[in-house]
Amino acid sequence: MNRQKANIDLLFRNGLKDYEVLPPKESWAFIRPHIRKPRPMIILLRVAATVAVLLSVSILAYRYGRQISTQIENNLLAVDEQVYAPVIAAASPEVVGNFERPLASAFIADASDQVPAARNNNVTNDSITAIGNILYTALPDLNANERNLRLHDNTPAMNEPDISSFDLLGNAELAVSEDPLIRTTPRWTIAALASPAYYSRIISGNADIASSMTSGQQPAFSYTGGLAVSYKVNKRLSVQSGLYYSAVGQELTGISTFGGFREYDYSKGGRNFAVRTANGTIHTNNPDVFLRDNATGNRVITMYTNDVFDPSKANLKYLNNILHQNLGYLEFPIILRYKVIDKGIDFNIIGGVSSNVLVNNSVYTSIDGQKYEIGKTDGVNMISFSSSVGMGMEYNFSGNFSFNIEPTLRYYINPFSPVAGVKIHPYSFGLFSGLIYKF
């Protein structure tokens, strides 16, 4: 009988090929809640879709807003001029001669609606004086030439409570107070805003360099928060600035960190390891740290290579397999905000630029929830610039307070850190929300 020696490799390969063992029942129950949303490519598509939806809604809202505005203007202009013409003539021919007639008619039509309400319908013979008062009240809003249109040199003492403002410069609409009491439109607002942010980047250039610079790097939780002050230029447009703090971060997986290296560090320099990332090169400044790239093998640059030093033989303490790279910025934004719908819930389109000053730069790993300092990222630009677009919804729940939500897409005009051979432009998608106080 020909007894042939067994091939142990084949024996195990073939024997285990289709072998199955039922896992414990609780495994699926554990997996299910941990399944996160799909990865960046899909998230990127979703961000793009969200932006598209926001733009669509903005365009619709803009068109809708204009329609409402036009209807209001038409209604005002459609008032029968004949009813009020004699009053105008009696009031001041000078006015008729200098203002466009429809506007004057509209103005008087509306003023006539309001004044009786305030004065218990006692209008007829007092209307000239009333109109004079109204126009005089509005004069501060007019420019120098328009001030020449003052009706009466001998205008009697003002009865200001009836009319609050007359905005000829903005939309040529009358803003007549519904409240007999004085009401001034708040022009300033201060807001406390915060936003979680999802960061990613657009990379172009050499594919190999890009791949090596970004492998094993996942965006970490990022956020922005701060105070914003805005000034209302006119009924729809406002300018916003403020001071934000934003934390940007990423996680580098596959880089093992060991502690206890200090006694083997013969250079005593501390900066023993460098790790190349898309945000810049990390340099260790903790002499107790030993780093090793377990994934690609070429991200960690050091003289303590595998053939020189083996952390397991030196019995170094394994700490973690993930590095956290954090950058903190103070942001000074200049944002324009255009109100497309001015209702109980306002809709705004926002866009602007921001200059960001680097104030925090740290790299650490964690052991049982405690931070263990590794070093910092070198070559990060002290100042970077970003542009942002978004759409905001603002709910006014009292005269002076409102709550807003603003999905915002931000694109960094320059990278955090220049990398030869590739262009890396970070972008982020955030959802700003916060309280606004108007004064």
């Binding site: 007894r3 042939q4 020696k5 067994a6 142990i8 490799d9 024996l11 195990f12 390969r13 024997g15 285990l16 289709d18 072998y19 199955e20 063992v21 039922l22 896992p23 414990p24 495994s27 699926w28 554990f30 997996i31 299910r32 941990h34 399944i35 996160r36 949303k37 799909p38 990865r39 490519m41 899909i42 596959g254 093992s256 090793r292 377990n294 093998g297 595998n306 053939d307 952390p311 397991s312 019995n315 170094l316 394994y318 397999n321």
Partner: protein, 186 residues
Amino acid sequence: MTDIKNIISGCLKGSRKDQEILYRRHAAKFYAVCLQYTGNDDEAQDILQEGFIKIFENLGSYKYEGSFEGWMRRIMVNTALEKFRSKHNLYRVDDINNIPEPDAEPYNEDYVGLEASDLLEIIRELPPKYRMVFNLFAIEGYSHKEISQMINISEGTSKSNLARARIILQRRVGSYTGLKKRVINE
């Protein structure tokens, strides 16, 4: 293929039902793989769970090129590798001299009747470094160069680990089959 495409598509849309179908369909096979890569049942369960979470998170990057099961298996093996890397300095390598000599050198016919569960138990008894090299070389088909990069050892170490793993397996299989024969004869 259409069926699996529909399931993948459902998973990408976040369908819990499709995710569970995918899991139920492959969990038993991959749990056996996880057991093969570690001597500890709890750790095998961790690898299975982490592996499936990665599979679901990375489904979008599957390009429908090559076997889907092979793609998933690579993720499982990589997860086992990560677990191994994070702990490998804690593992001790058994002294090969402590392993008993087999009753007889095994031949092909000795393995007739040796079941997959027996093979799994034998492979799980290997020291972790030997088991990892043997699995990657003999089962997954990686070269020593690839293995050396994967677990950060030299090619020479990979070869010697494989040789030692084979010797241990030969001895254990020999002892196992010898024991079986004795049991049958008695």
